[in-house]
Amino acid sequence: MPETHKNIVDFTLVYNKYKVQIYNYALKMLRNIMVAEDVVQNVFLKLYDSMDTIRNKDSIKYWLFTTTRNEILTLFRSKKVKADQFNASDVTEIEIASNELLQDKIEKNELKEIILNELEKENDEQREVFFLKEYGGMSYKEISELMNISEDLVKSRLYNTRQRLINRVKKIIK
């Protein structure tokens, strides 16, 4: 198989495997749909350019998240990001199927907003660990390597964030 074709096949496999994770990680971190989309696009175009140089295919996940993180940090440093389009979906976007379903969707949407708002109150490091775990599907080890922190710190940050979320969500359940 020619090198170009092999790269396309490899890229497609990686892209389909990680696109949702990368998109959600970028979106939750940046809280801006347009900027997050630009970041994801840049990351995947860079990935295609680097397919020849990434010899160890097992490290692609690490490469993807590191590149996405670097892009996000660059944006944070340049302070170009404004978190204004994060809550783009609202109740008006809900398709009305039945009363029960509508009620269910409204509740889900409310819960979603509560969780996202609660996460916004967390500091960046705390939130990032949570996003990498929940949306990136990364292991403690991978997160610790990516963020250059210990695994124990990863665990404790996750635990604390969840603890606060549970306390907030518990009030709604009750």
Binding site: N24, Q41, L158
Partner: protein, 155 residues
């Protein structure tokens, strides 16, 4: 095992980071600890709620990325991947065929000219030969049989 330790094990369980041995220990502890069971329930609820916050990958973004990749591939291999390649090749082939046709047409014209020249030369030569032949005086050939014919018979 105190409740906080147990809660941390529950976190690890939901993160798929708990070993099989610890999993057995966790469920044994859960059966005995009501508070931990409550935390497990809450974690389960939070887990599914957080999953709901995951956004679908936008189709427009997918199109943008794939279009970008397509452009990159075309830029890398413009000759083989450009969709106009066949059109360009057809035009080039047509031009080549036209040039070849003009060349052969010119060649045939030259050949025809040469044949005509040769033919006219031959016919002029023929005329000359005819003229020469006509200038030679007429010769009468009279046969004479001067030798005697002797017939011998042997009877």
């Amino acid at each position: 095992m105190n409740t906080e330790e147990l809660n941390k094990l529950i976190n690890e369980y939901f993160d798929n980071e708990l070993s099989k041995e610890k999993e057995v220990l966790l469920f044994t502890q859960l059966s005995q600890n009501k508070e931990a069971r409550e935390y497990f329930k809450n974690m389960n609820f939070l887990n599914s709620a957080v999953r709901e916050t995951s956004e679908k990958f936008p189709d427009e973004l997918e199109q943008k990325i794939l279009f970008g990749i397509k452009n990159k591939i075309e830029r890398k291999n413009p000759f083989f991947t450009n969709k106009n390649f066949f059109a360009v090749a057809s035009y080039a082939l047509s031009v080549v065929l036209i040039v070849i046709s003009i060349y052969f047409f010119n060649q045939s014209l030259n050949y025809k000219e040469r044949v005509e020249t040769t033919m006219s030369y031959i016919s002029s030569q023929n005329e000359k030969i005819d003229l020469l032949m006509n200038t030679i005086p007429v010769v009468n050939v009279i046969p004479e049989y001067q030798n005697e014919v002797t017939i011998n018979s042997q009877l």
